[in-house]
C-alpha cells in the first residue's frame, strides 16, 4: 500500500464553498418547509424574505463555484467512473461492518471515491439545476404566466430530492476512520491521503 500523508486536499475556497453552501441549503430547506406549510415557527413573510435572500446568495455562490471548477480543473474530480464502483458499494453495504479497509481511499488526484463522484455529479447536474430553474420559474411565475401549481410542484419535488441528499450526505460524512474524520478534513482542509508518485489514478 502506498504511503499515507497528512496533506491539504481541500483548498480554502472549497471549504468556504462547502460550508456556506451547507448553511444556505439548510436555511432554504427550513424556510421552504415553512413556506410550504410543513412546519411553523416563523411568519410566512419572514420565511419568504429569508428564502429569497438565501436563494440569491447560493446562486451567486454557484456561479463562483462553477467558475472556480473550470479555471482550476477541479471539475475533473466529478468525472464519473465505473472503476472501483462496485467494491465501494459493497464496502458501504457490507465491508464497513466487518472493519474492512475502504477500497478507494482518497488520493491527491482522486479526492472522491466513485460513489461520491456519481452522487455529487447527480447533485450538480440534476438536483441543483432543478432547484435553481424551478425556483427562478417560481419567482417569475407572474411574468411568464405559467401555471403556479405546476411550478410549485416541480420546485417542491426538487426540494424533497435535496433534503434526501442532505440526509445521506451528512450521514456518509461520519463514515471516515473516526466519525468526525471527514468533517475535520472538510474544516481544516487536511486529510490522510495516499500520495502516489505516478499519478496513475488521476
Amino acid at each position: 500500500m502506498a504511503e499515507r500523508q497528512y496533506v491539504k486536499i481541500f483548498t480554502r475556497f472549497e471549504r468556504f464553498w462547502h460550508w456556506s453552501q451547507a448553511l444556505l441549503v439548510l436555511a432554504l430547506l427550513f424556510t421552504g418547509a415553512r413556506l410550504h406549510g410543513l412546519i411553523g415557527g416563523m411568519y410566512w413573510g419572514q420565511a419568504f424574505r429569508l428564502h429569497l435572500i438565501a436563494a440569491g446568495l447560493i446562486i451567486l455562490l454557484w456561479i463562483f463555484a462553477i467558475f472556480w471548477h473550470f479555471t482550476t480543473g477541479a471539475w475533473q474530480h466529478y468525472i464519473p467512473t465505473l472503476r472501483n464502483l462496485v467494491p465501494v458499494i459493497r464496502y458501504y453495504a457490507y465491508g464497513i461492518f466487518r472493519g474492512e479497509a475502504h477500497p478507494a481511499k482518497p488520493t491527491i488526484h482522486r479526492k472522491h471515491n466513485p460513489l461520491q463522484r456519481l452522487s455529487y455529479l447527480f447533485l450538480k447536474l440534476v438536483i441543483n439545476p432543478a432547484i435553481w430553474a424551478t425556483g427562478i420559474l417560481y419567482l417569475t411565475v407572474n411574468l411568464t404566466g405559467l401555471d403556479l401549481q405546476t411550478v410549485a410542484w416541480l420546485h417542491v419535488v426538487s426540494a424533497y430530492a435535496m433534503a434526501i441528499f442532505v440526509v445521506i450526505h451528512v450521514y456518509m460524512a461520519t463514515t471516515g476512520d473516526t466519525p468526525t474524520a471527514y468533517v475535520k478534513a472538510m474544516t481544516t482542509g487536511y486529510e490522510w491521503v495516499v500520495v502516489e508518485e505516478d499519478a496513475a489514478g488521476g
Binding site: 406549510g37 410543513l38 461492518f97 407572474n142 417542491v156 419535488v157 424533497y160
Partner: protein, 337 residues
C-alpha cells in the same frame, strides 16, 4: 347602517378608519373620488368596477371610471423591492380592497349583520316595544324584528367579476337553503375576477310557501290598518303588499334565511395595517375557504408530500439502521480483539 363601509364614522375619521377621508390622511371628501364626467356618479351597486382597465395616461384620471388604480396605478408598490414587486404580482388575482380593508365598520359605528323579519310583530302588554344591547343598539324592534350588529368586522372573501345580480320579485327561490337577495358573479377560472372583500348580511325574510318566491309586505302606508307598522299583522301586511304587485299571492307565507353581498370598498386602512402575508398564506388564513386555485402555504400536494416525507423518513431510518450496525460491529470487533 347596512353598508359596513360607509358610515358617519367617515365624516371625522382617524387615519385608521379611512386614510382617504381622514383629515390626518388625504383629507378627501366623497366627490374627490366620485367625480362624474356626465353627471354620473361612478360607483354602482349593480355593476362594480373592480379595476380600471381603461388606458391610463400619466397624471390624468378617466373620470367615467372609478377604481383604486384610477389614482394609484396598477403597480402601486415599490417595484424594486422583493416585497413590493411580489405585492404587485398579486394585483391580477387579489383586489386592492382585500389587503387594504382588513376590517370594516370601524370607528365605533357598528353595522347590521343579521336582520330577522320573522320575529317582527311581537307585542308587550299589547304594545310594540324595543330592546337595546349594552351599547344602546337596537336588538329587537316590534316593527322590524331581531338584529345583530358587528364592529371591526372581518370581511368574507369571494372571487368577483364586478357583476351583481339581484333576485327580483317573482324569481323562484329554493327555501331549503339560504336564499340570495343578490348573487355575485365571477370565479377562480373566470378572467377578470379578483378576490374581493364583502360584507355578507344575513337575515330572514317572508316568502310565499306555495309560489316559492320572496314577497313584499306593506310596512308603512296610508292604508293604515293593513300596514305592518300600524297593526303588526303579517297576514294583512303581506296581502296588501302583494296586492300592489302583479304577482299572485297564495296567502300561505313562511320565512327563509337570506343573504346579501355588499362589496367593501371604503374604509381603506393605512398602509402599515394592510394584510400581512400570513393572513392569507396559511392553512387557517382568511382565504381558507376559497377553493379553485393554488395558494402557497395554504395548499400542499397531498400525495407528493406524503411520498416525499415517506422517502425522507425511510432515508433517515436507513441511515439509523446503518449507523446501528456499524456501532454493533465495532463493539464486536473490539471484544474479539
Amino acid at each position: 347602517m347596512k353598508h359596513g363601509d360607509l358610515s358617519s364614522a367617515l365624516l371625522d375619521a382617524s387615519r385608521h378608519v379611512d386614510v382617504h377621508m381622514s383629515p390626518e390622511g388625504a383629507g378627501m371628501v366623497c366627490v374627490d373620488c366620485h367625480v362624474g364626467n356626465r353627471h354620473e356618479w361612478p360607483g354602482s351597486r349593480y355593476h362594480g368596477t373592480i379595476s380600471d382597465t381603461s388606458r391610463q395616461r400619466p397624471g390624468m384620471r378617466n373620470t367615467d371610471i372609478l377604481a383604486c388604480n384610477s389614482c394609484h396605478t396598477s403597480a402601486p408598490h415599490e417595484a424594486l423591492s422583493v416585497k413590493g414587486s411580489k405585492l404587485n404580482d398579486h394585483i391580477d388575482r387579489v383586489a386592492c380592497q382585500t389587503c387594504h380593508i382588513p376590517e370594516f365598520a370601524k370607528g365605533g359605528v357598528a353595522t347590521k349583520t343579521w336582520w330577522d323579519w320573522s320575529t317582527a310583530g311581537k307585542l308587550k302588554d299589547g304594545k310594540p316595544y324595543s330592546e337595546v344591547d349594552e351599547n344602546g343598539r337596537d336588538i329587537y324592534l316590534t316593527i322590524k324584528g331581531d338584529f345583530r350588529w358587528g364592529e371591526d368586522v372581518v370581511p368574507e372573501y369571494e372571487f368577483w367579476d364586478g357583476i351583481v345580480e339581484y333576485t327580483l320579485l317573482g324569481d323562484k327561490i329554493d327555501p331549503s337553503g339560504i336564499v340570495g337577495i343578490n348573487r355575485i358573479g365571477g370565479g377562480p377560472d373566470q378572467p377578470g375576477s379578483l378576490i374581493f372583500p364583502f360584507k355578507r348580511m344575513l337575515g330572514k325574510q317572508a316568502y310565499d310557501e306555495i309560489n316559492q318566491y320572496l314577497i313584499q309586505s306593506n310596512v308603512y302606508g296610508p292604508e293604515g290598518d293593513t300596514a305592518l307598522w300600524s297593526n303588526y299583522n303579517w297576514d294583512k301586511a303581506l296581502s296588501a303588499g302583494m296586492a300592489g304587485s302583479d304577482l299572485p299571492y297564495s296567502g300561505k307565507f313562511g320565512f327563509v334565511e337570506t343573504e346579501m353581498w355588499w362589496p367593501t370598498t371604503h374604509m381603506v386602512a393605512p398602509a402599515n395595517e394592510a394584510l400581512k402575508c400570513s393572513a392569507c398564506h396559511a392553512r387557517d388564513g382568511r382565504l381558507a375557504k376559497l377553493a379553485g386555485f393554488y395558494l402557497p402555504g395554504r395548499d400542499g400536494f397531498t400525495l407528493t408530500d406524503r411520498i416525499g416525507l415517506w422517502l425522507l423518513a425511510m432515508t433517515l431510518a436507513g441511515v439509523a439502521l446503518h449507523a446501528g450496525l456499524r456501532i454493533l460491529s465495532r463493539r464486536r470487533d473490539n471484544r474479539e480483539g
